[in-house]
């Protein structure tokens, strides 16, 4: 049977991708950010998954204009990195695990999640920057990736509670997949940031660190948080943190925190990152 072996959360700032692609990770500005990812790059060598279910948000790259899905599962064979205005990132094509993606999509609909399947799309920095942070710059990504795109752009987004339940349902779906697979669930986005208006540049380190403190062993404190509270405390784009909840819920009760990292800033954003292993 397939099982969820670990979870990773990380911010997914475009400038981090640009720093990697342009060989600037050693710059004074970027060094302290990338140091936070040295652990995961080592750890993943012994913990390479077969498949990552990668919860991210599309930043008006493939979705959000003509179609605005609450939860969308990528169901193409492969996904190219999107051209977000400065050319496609020079990173490998992302390959899907179609059988597991189909199984999850089907089980989620049976569980009363109103999933949208997307049979063709590009994937933007929300998905590719985390892959780069964890796997570096390989010729091919070392695992398959199932993109799960969450609407955090157009209000109302799904609630934190809905995201939590989705993570639980993903856990159940993976458990019932007959093939022997090591599956990781990643949640990306956050931490606090606001990209608009006179409040731009908002960072709430206290909020972010409390979020990281509670996520591993007291996530029930975070689940009821309203959209309004995310916006007030963590900025309009800080609500991307609801994707961390999907990851956390998919891991179940037995979780060990292997690593945590927090740093301000990367561009406009507070960078947060955790690595959890499951015990089961």
């Amino acid at each position: 049977m397939a099982r969820i072996t670990a979870g990773i959360a990380t911010s997914h700032v475009p400038a981090i991708g640009a720093a990697i692609d342009n060989g600037r990770t050693g710059d004074e500005y970027w060094k302290p950010v990338f140091e936070g990812y040295e652990f995961v790059k080592e750890w993943v060598k012994d913990n390479t998954p077969d498949v990552v279910i990668l919860c991210y948000n599309d930043h008006a790259s493939a979705l959000m204009l003509d179609i605005v899905p609450t939860f969308a599962i990528g169901f193409a064979e492969e996904f190219l990195p999107a051209d977000e205005g400065w050319g496609r990132r020079p990173v490998p094509v992302v390959h899907n695990h179609l059988d597991l993606a189909a199984h999850i999509a089907e089980q989620l609909v049976i569980d009363e999640f109103d999933i949208t399947l997307i049979n063709e799309m590009d994937v933007d920095h929300g998905l590719t920057v985390p892959l780069s942070l964890v796997f570096g710059q390989p010729e091919e990504w070392p695992c398959k990736v199932i993109p799960l795109a969450v609407n955090v752009t157009q209000f109302p987004t799904p609630s934190g509670e809905r995201c939590w339940k989705l993570g639980e349902a993903i856990r159940n779906a993976v458990k019932t997949f007959p093939e022997d697979l090591k599956v990781q669930v990643w949640g990306t986005g956050g931490m606090s940031h606001q990209l608009q208006g006179t409040r731009a540049g908002l960072i709430n380190a206290e909020f972010d660190q409390r979020f990281i403190d509670l996520l591993a062993h007291e996530p029930e404190e975070l689940v009821p948080m309203t959209r309004l509270e995310y916006l007030r405390e963590a900025g309009t784009e800080g609500i991307e943190l609801i994707m961390w909840l999907i990851m956390r819920a998919a891991l179940g009760y037995g979780v060990e925190e292997k690593h945590r990292f927090y740093r301000v800033p990367a561009s406009n954003t507070a960078v947060g990152h955790v690595v959890y292993e499951t015990r089961s």
Partner: protein
């Protein structure tokens, strides 16, 4: 009997200096955003750079939206329904960093904004609620 909710969507308007992107704004900015997403192709970026006005006229945006694009007035574009995930494609086409683009709305110079970010960013103190003033 109307239902109670955790909060009314209108409460999202209570956050200082912040316009929450909702369905109405999404519709208002649809053609503006169609323009923004067109900049995800190099051919279109080249055409836009060659003649901005002519390129904008291909889209059913309002004249106000076109003027705000020409002026790179992101604050105004957000008032006109825009969302930063779309608008940032204009900045990328210009070769602006996301930080420079965002700082242009903040009432600060790009340098002051960059310094603020390095020093830990803008504190949420006093910026949580118009009503509560906290």
């Amino acid at each position: 009997m109307p239902r109670t909710r955790l909060y009314s969507l209108d409460e999202l308007e209570d956050i200082p200096g912040t316009l929450v992107f909702n369905a109405r704004r999404s519709r208002q900015a649809y053609h503006l955003h169609k323009f923004c997403m067109s900049l995800m192709q190099e051919d279109n970026r080249t055409a836009f750079r060659a003649d901005e006005r002519a390129y904008l006229d291909r889209f059913k945006m309002t004249e106000e939206q076109k003027q705000a694009v020409l002026a790179r007035d992101l604050t105004r574009l957000i008032e006109l329904g825009g969302n930063m995930y779309f608008l940032v494609k204009i900045a990328s086409t210009d070769g602006w960093s996301a930080q420079k683009a965002v700082s242009s709305m903040s009432g600060m110079s790009a340098e002051d904004y960059a310094r603020m970010m390095l020093e830990g960013g803008r504190s949420p103190e006093g910026l949580r609620s118009k009503r509560e003033g906290n």
